[in-house]
Amino acid sequence: MLLNQFLILSAVLFSIGVYGVVTRRNGVMVLMSIELILNSVNINLVAFAAFREAIPGEVFALFVIAVAAAEVGVGLAMVLLLYRNRRNIDLARIDSMKG
């Protein structure tokens, strides 16, 4: 009975994250929304693992957390690079390549 609440929570988090990625123009905000999505996945995993008493789910969640950390590191480096070159991190403005 408990599982559905968790799933709904992770779905909500997931959609908020996606909304954040798609609409926010600030680079850092987008990174944060991605983190949100990854965390929603974690919740999902942990919920299922608990419900099914299957250890791999937990292990999976751990891996996700670790990888998320690495990604954020790289992501921030990218955004920093962007700022150094363009003095702003407005994602809508970086469209020099198109068509």
Binding site: G17, P56, F60, V74, M78, I94
Partner: protein
């Protein structure tokens, strides 16, 4: 309650290639840190040797021929994974040859590049053998993150910067979506090992809509990786922005990795649920072929054109999957067709990029018009480029035709109505594709060079060897197709049933 931690029995021979490659990567990073400036010239040669070294255990495993299963089904070393590891290594080696003196100009710090490259290769090799959600995810991230950095390699160049950021954001977002799918898969089946997921589907709980959502999200994640339409939008910008050797690497190696994951998932994982993924793949294939080709017609920049051509070729590669679920034999044929296509596509594409790199060094731009009249100042390169282009177009006696022929064979014999339909779409597309390939060839052959200094292009030895390998492989597969056919007689299905 046994608390003692008994060491899991690891079959060292099976993981030998990964270990060797890891050690070479670590070695390079260490050398870079310790010797800084002095080590720079040797970095390329060392990493090349490293890759050849990892090839040795591969050969021994190949000769040995037994199928090794580690970590109870999560990590398998069978001839399917061996063949693909060989493809990755070969592609990696050629990319190194391409980038030896490309990276130097622009005085960026060269050694790190090779470190990242080997790390990414490591990820790919892992991907080939991983048969469980977690190891697939880890392998995917291991090969993607260094790729993001390589794309953004030229820190001061705004284009490379923009490409890097785009690739990063899209990559991470796609893997997030995939993760969500994987979590659902895990949720429904209760395990992360693909073979066990297959058993649980067989046990009957595969029909729930959650499972469908999961499968779609997972396939979407990898569709992004192989740049199938409508998930291809990142490819043109990233290909154009990134340094060309990296683009070559992305278009061949990381795409192949994407395919490996897709094949593993579909054949080992949810092969029974063909009524879900077959229509999905059918749509992806048809869209990629058509959109890829049509937009390629209008391109003026040769790298963007190669991007769209890559998208179209992906369409061709996915096509057999669209009928793979029909029967076991069709499944096997589809698998070997895709791997053959991958091998030949790798050779053709790397070759084409090699020529683009050499010509770009002289003309300074990647616009197609700058290729005009190449016949007059670089006849050898023109002939090579014509071989690659017409092989991509699928003209006999070059490699490409055998690849396309295999795909057509699978589609024609699948016996399903929309299999024939896809074959017709593929036939029309190959004619459209021919148009822009022939267009470049004609520009190189028939037109007058823009400016009139006809000094020849100086080609570095490494580029010559890269070109030689690619031309040899393309022609070889064209004239004696049974060479590649014999290698790709692999099957994952045996494992699944």
């Amino acid at each position: 309650m046994i608390l003692a931690f008994e060491r899991p029995a690891i079959d060292w021979h099976a993981v030998a290639p990964e270990i060797v490659l890891l050690s070479v990567g670590v070695l390079i990073t260490l050398l870079d840190i310790l010797f800084l400036e002095k080590a720079r010239p040797y970095m390329a040669a060392l990493s090349g040797l490293g890759i050849l070294a990892t090839a040795i255990p591969l050969l021994t495993l190949g000769i040995d021929g037994t199928e090794r299963v580690l970590f109870d089904g999560a990590y398998v070393v069978d001839n399917f994974s061996l063949v693909l590891k060989a493809i990755f290594l070969l592609a990696g080696y050629v990319v190194i040859l391409l980038s030896t003196n490309y990276i130097v100009d622009g005085d960026y710090w060269e050694s790190e590049y090779y470190g990242l490259l080997l790390a990414s290769l490591m990820g790919m090799i892992m991907m080939a053998s991983s048969r469980d959600l977690i190891s697939i995810f880890v392998a995917l991230e291991l090969l993607s993150i260094p790729a993001y950095l390589m794309v953004a390699w030229r820190k001061r160049d705004p284009k490379s910067n923009e490409a890097g950021l785009k690739y990063y954001l899209m990559g991470v977002f796609a893997s997030a979506v995939m993760l969500y799918g994987m979590s659902l898969l895990f949720g429904v089946s209760g395990t992360t090992v693909l073979s066990e997921i297959a058993d649980s589907i067989e046990a009957g709980n595969g029909s729930s809509s959650v499972m469908t959502l999961g499968i779609v999200f997972v396939i979407a994640g990898f569709a992004f990786k192989v740049s199938a339409v409508p998930f291809h939008t990142w490819a043109p910008d990233v290909y154009e922005g990134a340094p060309t050797p990296v683009t070559a690497f992305l278009s061949v190696a990381s795409k192949a990795a994407g395919f490996v994951a897709l094949l593993a998932l579909i054949f080992v994982g949810f092969y029974e649920l063909s009524n879900i993924w077959e229509p999905l793949i059918w749509i992806l294939a048809a869209l990629s072929m058509t959109v890829g080709n049509l937009v390629a017609l209008r391109q003026t920049n040769v790298v963007r054109l190669m991007a769209y051509s890559g998208v179209a070729q992906t369409g061709f590669m996915i096509a057999p999957l669209a009928v793979a679920g029909h029967s076991l034999t069709t499944g096997d044929q589809a698998l070997s067709a895709i791997i053959t296509y991958l091998a030949i596509y790798a050779a053709m594409n790397l070759g084409a990029f090699a020529v683009i790199i050499t010509l770009a060094r002289r003309t300074g731009s990647a616009e197609i018009d700058s290729f005009a009249g190449a016949f007059h100042f670089a006849p050898g390169l023109t002939v090579a480029m014509t071989i690659f282009l017409f092989s991509l177009a699928g003209i006999p006696p070059l490699g490409g035709w055998f690849a396309k022929f295999e795909v057509f064979r699978v589609l024609a014999t699948s016996g399903e109505a929309w299999g024939y339909l896809l074959a017709v779409v593929a036939a029309i597309n190959s004619v459209i594709a021919l148009f822009y390939y022939a267009n470049i060839a004609r520009k190189m052959w028939a037109e007058e060079p823009s400016e009139n200094d006809l000094k020849n292009v100086e080609i570095t030895p490494s580029l010559v060897s890269a070109l030689a390998i690619c031309v040899l492989v393309t022609l070889l597969f064209g004239i004696f197709p049974q060479l590649v056919a014999r290698f790709t007689e692999v099957s994952l299905l045996a494992f699944a049933t």
